[in-house]
């Protein structure tokens, strides 16, 4: 795991440093949006990680935990780590979108279908994190959280298709999909690098959070064993 952490950490530092240099100084301003288009080197990549990578991974791990053949606390901890980091990315998605929306749409926030469903997704997963803090046996907690994660993940397709179903202010698929615009040369490479950089950053954060969670669980087990040994020895002496 140490090696994976080093690789993902280095990859994210290098690619995100490149994105900053390319995005701020090398790429030209956009013909329509001018300098504001530079936010698009951050916002779509952060949203990609939040909606698809993080929640997808959490939902997959939750299914694997609920499935009896593959049940392991490893999946529960991975799901928890993915949701925790995913919530950070959902909040970043809303903040970066809001910063872009102010000069483009004229408002910091609008009750657009995609914005609202993304905010709702954030609240659903904050609920998941609250559920994790309820004291319970590790298997009971894992089962409850896995079910809650799957229920909440149902919102992801709603977020994805919201721009087509309701056709409110947020634009439909811009880079991929039918009618997408062509992004050229250095601008396309910078966007691609930001997707790689933020995905690597997510992977690094999840692995780190998973390691902390595992160490916590081991610590709790050790404390419990020590407490049991102490209690038994009290019984022997009395």
């Amino acid at each position: 795991m140490q090696r994976s952490l080093r690789i993902l950490g280095s990859l994210s530092v290098v690619t995100l440093a490149l994105v900053i240099v390319l995005g701020l100084w090398v790429t030209p301003p956009d013909v329509n949006q001018g300098e504001y288009a530079r936010l698009l080197y951050i916002h779509p990549a952060v949203a990609w990680v939040a909606l698809y990578v993080a929640i997808g991974m959490a939902a997959l791990c939750s299914v694997l935990y609920l499935w009896k053949r593959t049940r392991s606390l490893v999946y529960d901890r991975l799901a928890a780590a993915a949701v925790e980091v995913g919530v950070v990315f959902i909040i970043l998605t809303l903040i970066t979108g809001s910063i872009w929306g102010r000069p483009t749409w004229g408002v910091w926030w609008t009750w657009d279908a995609r914005l609202t469903s993304t905010a709702l997704l954030g609240v659903l997963f904050i609920g998941y994190l609250a559920l994790r803090r309820v004291p319970a046996d590790s298997d009971v907690r894992a089962k409850r959280c896995a079910a809650a994660c799957i229920f909440a993940a149902v919102d992801v397709p709603i977020v994805h298709f919201s721009v087509q179903w309701w056709q409110t202010l947020h634009q439909t698929a811009t880079v991929f999909g039918p009618g997408a615009i062509q992004v050229h040369g250095i601008m396309a490479w910078t966007m691609l690098l930001s997707f790689i950089g933020f995905t690597a950053l997510f992977g690094w954060m999840v692995l780190l959070r998973y390691r902390i969670e595992t160490l916590n669980a081991t610590g709790e087990d050790d404390e419990l064993t020590a407490a049991l040994v102490a209690r038994r020895s009290e019984g022997v002496t009395s």
Partner: protein
């Protein structure tokens, strides 16, 4: 082949027998304690009155806001009613009794949903009367409105009971259940309000799309509850 079909029919019949049993028990407890009548219903009416205070006395504003206010009042009250319903099921003695009686967990889930559904429909009836009388709402299509109320209530109750089983012990459920269930039932709030608006607008009859969303929501949550309530309660 026929034996297998026979077994499935027996399991389904047993599930519904258990559901009636649990629903009857929950409703009897409710009739004796009258928590719904003296606590949940006044809270729902109070919500409507407070919203009216906040919006001001203009009839046009109140009539325009009525669909959303009605469903918000139902939503908040349903969470209170669900907490009460899950408090009955959450005690160790009730869980042990259900296990010893061999009750089908899917039947227990359906029974709790049925009991809660009847309570929420009764609550909706009173709130609807309040909205029509005090918010100056004119209903153009009663069948659409009533269908949306029943379908939305079914979805709400199924989600409430399912999330209630997730929320754990009583001391954490009071704060955790609203956080879990309110964002999840947002589709009911949106579709219910839209269906209400369609049923109270002059050109009524466009609400079938929203009724469809409410039906899908109710079916999905009921199916998930039937499948998952057992494993969640066993844990």
């Amino acid at each position: 082949m026929w034996h297998e079909v026979d077994d499935v029919v027996k399991v389904v019949l047993q599930m519904w027998r258990d559901a009636w049993l649990v629903a009857g028990r929950d409703l009897r407890i409710e009739l004796r304690s009258r928590v719904g009548l003296w606590q949940v219903l006044p809270f729902a009416l109070l919500t409507l009155v407070l919203f009216a205070f906040a919006l001001g006395p203009q009839p046009a504003t109140l009539a325009r806001s009525a669909p959303g206010l009605f469903w918000l009042a139902v939503l908040f009250s349903s969470v209170l009613a669900a907490q009460r319903s899950m408090a009955i099921e959450g005690t160790r003695a009730t869980k042990d009794a259900s296990r010893l009686l061999g009750l089908d967990p899917a039947g227990v889930f359906l029974g709790k949903v049925l009991a809660l559904l009847l309570e929420i429909i009764a609550l909706e009836a009173v709130l609807l009367l309040g909205v029509v009388l005090f918010f100056h709402v004119h209903v153009s299509s009663w069948p659409d409105l009533l269908a949306s109320c029943v379908l939305a209530a079914l979805g709400l109750c199924a989600a409430d009971v399912l999330y209630g089983s997730l929320a754990g012990e009583a001391r954490t459920r009071a704060t955790l259940l609203p956080l879990l269930v309110l964002p999840a039932v947002a589709p009911v709030l949106i579709a219910g309000s839209k269906a209400f608006s369609e049923a109270t607008s002059r050109g009524a009859g466009l609400g079938s799309r929203w009724l469809g969303i409410l039906t899908v929501f109710a079916l999905v949550y009921t199916a998930m509850g039937v499948i998952l309530y057992g494993p969640l309660e066993e844990s």
